[in-house]
């Protein structure tokens, strides 16, 4: 009886080992690389199906790699090759971890108005644990030069943020340099424009200072309008910035700047008004005072804690692959 159980165990072990060797097959690797290639092409053609065509072959490749590392004697004899394949497994795990905990988003921040931790749009992995709601910074203005033909030059954006101890720091960001706060990376974008700042005094005498960002400039030069409602109000207010000068002359070297000659058209229901900085408008639900114009800058927001580890895994993978080929090729001349 005891020998039968032992034989069964041995048979199970042998079957398991056979399965592991099958999973480790180099030919399977080849098929999975081809499958990944088709998956990439499929994901490229079908934007709505970007996850599974990539994830399935990648998981299978990870298993194949792991089985190969466990069973293939080549890896015990060739350390560099072993390190390369282990680095590939780590790379796959890191990419998966990154996808589970990432955040990408976008926000427009008006000059002088602190970012309050709220993103205009965002996507995040199911295990995202960062706390963007606690992140604060101030856009202190930016400069962008344009070459003839409205060819945009470098973006230089001054930003300030405070540490927990209340000390403020200033930094110049733009193009290649993001602002990094609590792991969140804020990148300037080509989206920027003008923001109208208002003081809204409601019927109870409460004051609210805020801004309304107009569409990007010069991208939407001819539709500088927006509709909005003041805080706690049911009013729908439509505003349009009527600029009476050429701000960015396509024939000249020029710089992004606020307009000096402009008026603000305000429409509430059928009533039309023209406002200049300092003007007020009495409405049925409160008083609207136009304070003036400021700039706003659009930021792309990115969070992925795996970035430095991914780079390290890539460096190890390439270095070990290089070492493997070097040892292999230097052992025997090509024309031997």
């Amino acid at each position: 009886m005891l020998s039968v159980v032992k034989e069964e165990r041995a048979a199970r072990r042998a079957a398991g080992a056979r399965l592991l060797r099958l999973a480790a097959s180099l030919r399977l690797t080849l098929a999975l690389i081809a499958l990944l290639g088709f998956g990439v092409a499929f994901a490229y053609l079908r934007e709505d199906a970007r996850t599974w065509p990539l994830v399935v072959p990648l998981i299978l490749l990870a298993f194949n790699l792991l089985a190969a590392v466990l069973t293939n004697g080549v890896f015990r004899r060739q350390t560099a090759l072993l390190v390369f394949h282990l680095a590939l497994i780590v790379l796959l795990l890191l990419v998966a971890a990154g996808r589970l905990s990432y955040l990408t988003g976008y926000v427009g921040v008006t000059e002088g108005v602190p970012f309050d931790g709220t993103l205009a749009e965002s996507q995040r992995g199911p295990l995202h644990a960062g706390d963007i709601a606690q992140v604060r910074f101030v856009n202190k203005g930016f400069s962008i030069d344009y070459a003839p033909g409205l060819q945009r030059g470098a973006t230089r954006n001054a930003v300030a943020w405070s540490e927990g101890n209340g000390r403020w720091h200033e930094e110049m960001i733009g193009d290649q340099t993001p602002l990094v706060l609590s792991g969140y990376r804020f990148y300037t974008t080509f989206n920027k424009g003008f923001a109208l700042t208002f003081l809204w005094r409601d019927a109870h005498g409460n004051d609210f200072l805020g801004s309304v960002q107009l569409p990007p400039y010069p991208l939407k030069e001819y539709s500088q309008a927006a509709a909005w409602s003041p805080p706690g109000s049911t009013l729908s207010i439509w505003v349009m910035l009527d600029i009476d000068e050429v701000l960015l002359d396509p024939a000249e070297h020029t710089s992004f700047r606020l307009p000096e000659r402009y008026k603000l058209i305000v429409r509430i229901g059928d009533d039309r008004h023209e406002l200049r900085p300092g003007d007020s408008l009495q409405t049925a639900e409160g008083t609207l005072e136009f304070e003036g114009l400021r700039n706003w800058m659009g930021y792309r927001v990115f969070y992925d804690w795996t970035l430095p580890w991914l780079l390290a895994a890539c460096a190890v993978a390439v270095a070990s692959l290089g070492a493997h080929f070097w040892l292999k090729f230097s052992a025997r001349p090509w024309d031997a």
């Binding site: 080849l30 690389i33 990439v40 092409a41 060819q151 193009d175 990115f302 460096a315 080929f325 024309d335």
Partner: protein
């Protein structure tokens, strides 16, 4: 305008030298002779002239040849010729491959001659050392694959019974196959490094290291074809002609990625290889 004319005249002189090098190489193989010094001298003359032409343009525009199709073709002709001249100089036994490699270069030279030499806008996102690193690594990859393609063409020609006698001066096909494999291994390493450098640049420039834009997708597909070719040779012990066929497929994919996709893509990553 005069400066551009001078650059183009020097470039034409370089193209003439390259074409002469190719003709001498082909005639040498056909006649069973070895005009190796003449071929090397003509290729070096072409490379020197082209270096001057690119240098003048770089100085005039204030940026490298990364923006327009003309610039990308020109810089790739330069880097491919540099890679091939190095291989030609260092590995004497494969010098007859010039009779195959140079006609491949003629295609790019012809394309270069009809491309518009006007200048393009240099975006602020290109103003980083990572651009040079990314592009430089990509050029080494393509150069290594070009040498492998030259060797593969010889293997396939022999297999098809074309010019066996004339190609007899080259080593046996298994040896050429081994050298082509080594070139592909170098290509894999440099393509991987190119992808890593590109990801670092993309993270800085656009706030994401990978976004499956058309160029990134095709670059990754090219990487997969290289990995597939190397793995297939190890897994199936491929015969030299089959391995050579796969190498040609890699070259075609890489060619489409480097010279096709950047000019049909509307993504910010327009390609600057």
């Amino acid at each position: 305008m005069l400066e551009m004319e001078l650059e183009l005249q020097i470039l034409w002189a370089a193209v003439t030298a390259y074409v002469l090098a190719g003709i001498v190489a082909v005639v040498g193989v056909v006649l069973g002779k070895k005009p190796e010094r003449s071929v090397l001298a003509l290729m070096l003359a072409g490379l020197s002239l082209q270096t001057i032409s690119i240098g003048l343009r770089w100085d005039r525009l204030g940026h490298g040849p990364f923006i327009t199709m003309f610039e990308i073709l020109c810089s790739n002709v330069w880097s491919l010729m540099t890679a091939y001249i190095l291989a030609y100089w260092r590995i004497r036994r494969i010098r007859a491959t010039a009779a195959v490699v140079m006609p491949i270069m003629f295609i790019m030279l012809g394309w270069l001659m009809v491309a518009h030499p006007g200048e393009g806008h240099y975006p602020p996102t290109y103003n980083t050392p990572w651009l040079y690193i990314h592009i430089g690594l990509g050029k080494v990859f393509l150069g290594a694959v070009l040498v492998a393609v030259g060797l593969s063409c010889i293997i396939l020609m022999r297999h098809a019974g074309l010019g066996r006698q004339r190609l007899a001066q080259l080593p046996a096909s298994p040896q050429l196959d081994e050298l082509a494999f080594r070139c592909m291994a170098i290509g894999l390493i440099f393509h991987t490094l190119m992808l890593i450098a590109g990801a670092i640049w993309a993270q800085d420039a656009w706030g994401r290291y990978w976004a499956w834009d058309p160029l990134e997708t095709w670059a990754f597909i090219t990487w997969l074809t290289v990995a597939f070719t190397i793995h297939a040779r190890l897994a199936y012990r491929l015969s030299p002609p089959v391995h050579a066929g796969l190498i040609l497929a890699v070259f075609v994919t890489a060619f489409l990625t480097f010279f096709g996709v950047p000019f049909v893509s509307v993504a910010p990553h327009q390609g600057a290889v």
